[in-house]
């Protein structure tokens, strides 16, 4: 009867029903947001997350569009309640924030809105939940359009700062605050639409939570939530306990902070003690000058939580209990715990390295969990030129996909978006050609980019695009163009990423990290992402698999002979 005694006094059947209802509520928030928004970064890239939080900040239920918001939501509430004590919060309030520092935000484009949800049967007892929506606004001010500046030197170059503030008080809008925020951004109309879409999502959550409270009553709903959190904690602890006890260290590198071309180190020391895990990032490099070199502490914790989720229960519903077995230690003033006014807009580069460092350390604890290095990060590229669009120019912007690392049981996956992105699609070549003066000449896998191994890495992608009109420029921020995705367990490194420009003379010039580089008409831009690191000694790869890779052209005969020693014949 051990299972029954472990229950916390709630009916396990109703608990399961409440779990489904909570998930429905946060998902409906996301549908509402993405249908009412007109911004591709919300509707297509799904750069948002919607949650229900308990008043103490505990995560109750979450819908996420990208992984790195998974652990970044719960820390948003305490700074709001520091300024506006719980007793002063009223039905109809809406709060807003974006400051990475004072509001525990991620970067300034990510705007957070909050709405308390009260029980209509007993509003005096204070809010039951807070509905919270975080969404990436396409522009938040800052020195460059899109507020995307790898070379920003401080937070003030990164856009308008919104500390936690009350935007709507018991239904009354603070129009001055709204004007102040929107007046500091370039895309006022679009931002206002996205803000209203977010607040619409909060309204949906309020009404659905009211239905739930009417059905079960506040006390029972809260008891089920507590029990769901305990359940997630128990299930997660059981997974942590499967990792061998010990202390494991792994290093990762970020190629550039956006200002200097000097790679810097992220270090994770993972300690597993029974069913608890501690991740110490203190050995990571000091905070950096440029915006690719820093993350605030809540963002770094969020990154560790992504790795932790991958290692424990990748398919289970996430709530506060999912993270109770995890402790994260950081050193203030380091690149993973940047102090104001350090720039943090491109915190995803640090997040990628943090995630891989944690996975790398646990891979040492248990080789069956080891995974070869990832091709890189978002590796975004923007092409722009004079045109008839907003602001008199056309802008093509896209993240890119590449190879993932080999696993103990399977080769790495090819052509997949990076770990900080999720359910977001590429821009089809036919859509590019119909929309911009560009012609795509290749969109194909890169042979031999996969790190060799008993289980090889996945392949990177080559995207060659011809510039058809004069006056175009190229901006890009790649990762892993200096330090290759590492192999594990004796596997080889994957190929580097790279971005090259041929201005028409057949000479390829590097352009891995550039801002508004001019391009002549006829230039060919070649974006090539790297491949994943291999897993295990390539000489132990089954000859039939090597032969199949050669027959399919994933691996050339020369590489097969050199790396696998088989020449590609079974």
């Amino acid at each position: 009867m051990s299972v029954a005694t472990a229950l916390v006094g709630v009916d396990p059947v109703t608990r399961q029903v409440v779990q489904n209802r909570l998930i429905s509520i946060v998902r409906e928030m996301s549908h509402t947001l993405s249908r009412a928004s007109f911004s591709p970064i919300i509707t297509e890239v799904k750069d948002f997350s919607n949650v229900l939080l308990a008043p103490d900040g505990a995560l109750v239920a979450q819908a996420e569009g990208i992984p790195t918001f998974l652990g970044a939501m719960a820390p948003l509430l305490p700074p709001v309640l520091d300024r506006y004590p719980l007793a002063s919060v009223q039905p109809g309030d809406v709060f807003i924030s974006n400051d990475p520092y004072s509001a525990n935000g991620t970067h300034k484009n990510d705007v957070n809105v909050f709405r308390p949800v009260f029980d209509p049967a007993g509003p005096d007892a204070g809010p039951v939940f807070f509905a919270v929506s975080k969404a990436h606004w396409t522009d938040i001010g800052a020195k460059d359009p899109g507020s995307w500046s790898p070379d920003a030197r401080n937070m003030f170059q990164e856009g308008v700062t919104i500390p936690p503030l009350r935007l709507v008080a018991a239904g009354d809008w603070n129009d001055e605050l709204l004007e102040m925020i929107l007046g500091n951004t370039r895309l006022r109309e679009q931002n206002e639409g996205d803000l209203l879409a977010q607040i619409g999502a909060l309204g949906v959550a309020e009404s659905r939570v009211h239905d739930l409270l009417a059905e079960y009553g506040r006390a029972e709903v809260e008891a089920h939530v507590a029990s769901l959190i305990d359940y997630a904690e128990r299930a997660t602890r059981a997974e942590v306990a499967r990792i061998p006890d010990g202390r494991y260290r792994a290093e990762e590198w970020v190629d550039s902070d956006g200002v200097s071309e000097e790679p810097f180190r992220i270090v994770a020391v993972v300690e597993v003690d029974g069913d608890r895990m501690t991740v110490d990032l203190s050995e990571s490099a000091d905070q950096r000058a440029g915006a690719c070199g820093n993350a605030v502490v809540t963002a770094s914790v969020a990154a560790v939580r992504v790795a932790f989720k991958c290692l424990t229960l990748p398919h289970a519903a996430t709530n506060e209990g999912s993270y109770r077995p995890l402790q994260v230690i950081t050193r203030p003033g380091s690149s993973v715990h940047a102090l104001a006014p350090a720039p943090v807009t491109l915190w995803g580069d640090v997040a990628r390295a943090v995630i891989e460092a944690v996975l790398g350390a646990v891979g040492r604890a248990d080789p069956s969990r080891a995974i070869g290095g990832l091709f890189g990060n978002v590796d975004a590229m923007a092409l722009a030129g004079p045109g008839t669009g907003d602001g008199g120019e056309w802008i093509y912007f896209s993240p890119f996909a590449g190879g993932w690392g080999g696993r103990a049981g399977a080769d790495g996956l090819s052509a997949l978006c990076p770990i900080i992105n999720g359910d977001n699609d590429n821009v089809p070549c036919e859509v590019i050609e119909a929309s911009y003066p560009l012609r795509v000449e290749r969109y194909e896998l890169v042979p031999d980019s996969c790190g060799a191994g008993r289980r090889r890495g996945g392949l990177g992608v080559r995207f060659d695009v011809r510039i058809l009109e004069a006056g175009a420029t190229l901006s890009a921020s790649l990762d892993r163009y200096v330090i290759a995705p590492p192999g594990v367990q004796g596997g080889d490194d994957g190929a580097l990423s790279g971005l090259w420009v041929d201005e028409g003379d057949g000479v390829e010039l590097p352009a891995h990290k550039v801002a508004a580089r001019p391009l002549p008409a006829g230039a060919l831009v070649s974006h090539r992402t790297g491949g994943g690191g291999g897993h295990g000694d390539p000489r132990r790869r089954e000859p039939a698999l090597v032969a199949a890779d050669v027959a399919d052209g994933y691996v050339t005969p020369e590489a097969a002979a050199r790396l696998y020693g088989t020449g590609g014949t079974a």
């Binding site: 396990p12 007109f38 290749r442 194909e444």
Partner: protein, 653 residues
């Protein structure tokens, strides 16, 4: 006897429905015959008493193409693409919907890389030729396909949606160089942009073409032996049927051929109810299929598909969750009661079937709670072992949770209903529909058992169980008309499009349709997809007989406000795609005789549906039984027989 007959082949049963000369319908359920399902079909024909020689039309829902893809049993296939794009099939759209599973596998491309060939021909996005088709290059590929023993090939060239000349030239060259080679041109199936989706469509078509062709050969020869001389029609994912000859060239259009039948049947019911808002649930052995009828019309998927291969062809949006009668219940190590998606399947089946199953299923819970009569299903052909069901629930659910068998069985049903209700809510709210306006239309063997609970948990207005819920898909197929669709890209700001432009574009689409499909009587239905600039999704808007961009834009703003609560009439709005369909008027829907018992109210116990006349009322808790299905009228609910012989379930106020 009847002149029209429908066959729906499911995993366990083959359903046959025929219309008799007096308009009444005949229903028969026979076991599906694995290996060669045509034997089951021919058996069913015999059992229902239909003389094939007298049939005008045999309509068929088949999952042959779908199963071939799901089971990896497709034919060897080649692919020809523009130079530089042979990996589009493998690169896909680069997304990771499963965000945290580091051990996940990518779908294996249906064409291995070694059989993907490239040619130098190239079109620009405006249909301008940048490089011509090289005859020798195509002939060399034909030779290599032959050497590799490949009998079916897909062709998808970049920007072919803008101009189909190159694809057609390649098709002609292949026909010349390799007689007998089966060729699927992407633009014959879908003339839309997005190279991955179009490539996927062409490849799925090419890979299933020989499979469906072989199947139709067997079926048609079996029918011919029985002197069948009528038309064999195949159900399409769109909800219309096409001739077997069309199906042989367009198997990708048949992927949802099975489940869509129920939605077509639902459409007839919605129409009889004056264009009702319905959400359908078809509960079978392993899954529940869900679809939405918005003001009586089935909602189509923006991009159809299944598994992870998108199909750019009209397809009713049907979603599934692993929750059916055979779904297994268990308690995990941390005390959670889980139901599905694992299923006891046909073998061993639920514990109560007495075929060796010892783990409890949803059906076992229904049996223990008296919601399924113990004397069994299928007119008593399958007697049920109530004790085995109780034992399975006691061991695997009641004891671990410290509950009695009854409460444990109720718990299993509540979790199953909660999982299914989550999908119902998700499908509705994603489309912008308010669940409170929608009634559940529940069918399939298990629909009626769960209807009240699902309506309650999903917050719906009520529930309806149609006549013959167990053969609803076959009934729907029986009432389906022929339908042919064509669409084309039309990416223009609404303010730049004159009524004359639109008229011309629609006329071109209709002209092509009429040339291809010699429908004697057909209604043309025109529509366009619109969006606000910057949006990724579009909304379809009807075009009416005299299409006008301004009128469609107005309708788009209204629809956007109706579904998503906001509209921005001042924001830049664009047309994306024009569609035309030729639809044969459906035959008069099957009439269902209501029961012939006395009217009036009944309470408790069990009632035969055949004895419930129009206006009869049954108060819950009680069950209504008919061949192949049971409706559970929950406590606090009443059932009423409406004028169309539906069971209408309503909460007692």
């Amino acid at each position: 006897m009847s002149t029209r007959l429908a066959v729906d082949v499911g995993g366990t049963f083959t359903d046959v429905v025929a219309t008799g000369p007096d308009g009444a319908t005949l229903h028969e359920k026979v076991p599906t015959t694995p290996g060669d399902v045509t034997r089951g079909i021919l058996d069913g024909l015999e059992r229902v008493g239909a003389d094939p020689a007298l049939l005008d039309r045999l309509l068929h829902g088949t999952t042959v193409a779908l199963n071939a893809v799901l089971e990896g049993a497709t034919a060897p296939v080649g692919l020809i693409t523009t130079r530089g794009f042979r990996d589009v099939l493998e690169i896909r759209r680069t997304s990771r919907p499963d965000m945290y599973d580091l051990q996940q596998e990518a779908p294996v491309p249906l064409v291995p890389r070694r059989h993907r060939f490239e040619i130098g021909a190239r079109m620009g996005p405006g249909g301008e030729e940048l490089a011509p088709v090289d005859v020798d290059e195509v002939r060399a590929i034909a030779a290599r396909l032959r050497e590799a023993g490949i009998g079916s090939v897909a062709v998808c060239l970049i920007n072919a949606y803008a101009d189909t000349r190159h694809e057609r030239a390649v098709g002609a060259l292949l026909a010349d160089a390799a007689p007998g080679l089966l060729v699927s041109l992407s633009t014959d199936l879908a003339r839309e942009w997005r190279e991955f989706e179009r490539t996927s469509t062409a490849v799925v078509n090419a890979a299933t073409l020989p499979v469906l062709g072989g199947y139709l050969d067997r079926l048609q020869s079996g029918l011919a032996e029985r002197r069948f001389a009528g038309e064999l029609m195949i159900m399409q994912s769109s909800g219309g049927v096409m001739s077997a000859e069309s199906a042989r060239t367009r198997p990708a259009a048949t992927l949802m051929s099975g489940p869509v039948g129920g939605v077509v049947g639902a459409r007839a019911i919605a129409e009889a109810l004056g264009g009702a808002d319905l959400v359908t649930v078809d509960i079978g052995g392993t899954s529940a299929d869900v679809a939405v009828l918005d003001r009586g019309l089935p909602v189509q998927a923006a991009v159809g598909g299944f598994g992870r291969w998108p199909i750019l062809m009209p397809m009713v949006d049907i979603r599934s969750v692993g929750a059916g009668g055979g779904s297994l219940a268990r308690v995990d190590a941390h005390g959670a009661l889980l139901v599905g998606p694992e299923s006891a399947a046909a073998v061993p089946g639920p514990a109560c079937y007495g075929r060796g199953g010892t783990r409890p299923t949803v059906t076992d819970a229904n049996v223990v709670l008296g919601r399924i009569a113990p004397e069994g299903l299928m007119r008593g052909r399958l007697a049920l072992d109530v004790e085995a069901a109780a034992r399975a629930i006691a061991t695997h659910v009641a004891e671990p949770l410290g509950l009695g068998v009854g409460p444990a069985a109720e718990g299993i049903l509540r979790v199953m209903n909660s999982n299914t209700a989550r999908l119902l809510r998700e499908v509705l709210t994603e489309g912008g529909h308010d669940p409170r306006r929608f009634s559940l239309l529940a069918f399939g063997g298990g629909g009626g058992l769960h209807a009240c609970a699902l309506a309650e948990e999903a917050g719906l207005a009520g529930a309806i169980v149609p006549p013959h819920p167990g053969t609803m898909s076959a009934l729907g197929i029986l009432g389906a008309g022929v339908r042919h669709d064509r669409s084309a890209m039309f990416l223009r700001p609404v303010t730049d499009v004159s009524d004359g432009d639109l008229e011309q574009a629609f006329a071109a689409l209709l002209g092509e349709l009429r040339a291809d499909s010699p429908l004697r009587e057909a209604v043309a239905v025109l529509s366009a997809d619109l969006r606000y600039v910057g949006q990724g999704h579009t909304l379809p808007v009807g075009a009416g007989p005299a299409p006008s961009a301004a009128a469609m834009a107005e309708e788009f703003h209204r629809e956007h406000r109706r579904l998503f609560g906001v509209s921005r009439p001042d924001a830049p709005t664009e047309l994306v795609r024009l569609s035309a369909a030729l639809i044969e008027p459906a035959p008069a829907p099957a009439r269902h005789a209501p029961g012939d018992g006395p009217a009036g109210e009944r309470t408790g116990g069990a009632h035969a549906r055949a004895e419930l006349a129009v206006g009869a009322i049954v108060h819950g808790p009680s069950r209504i039984e008919e061949d192949g299905a049971t409706t559970w009228v929950a406590d606090g609910w009443t059932a009423r027989i409406d004028a169309h012989a539906n069971i209408v379930l309503e909460r007692v106020a």
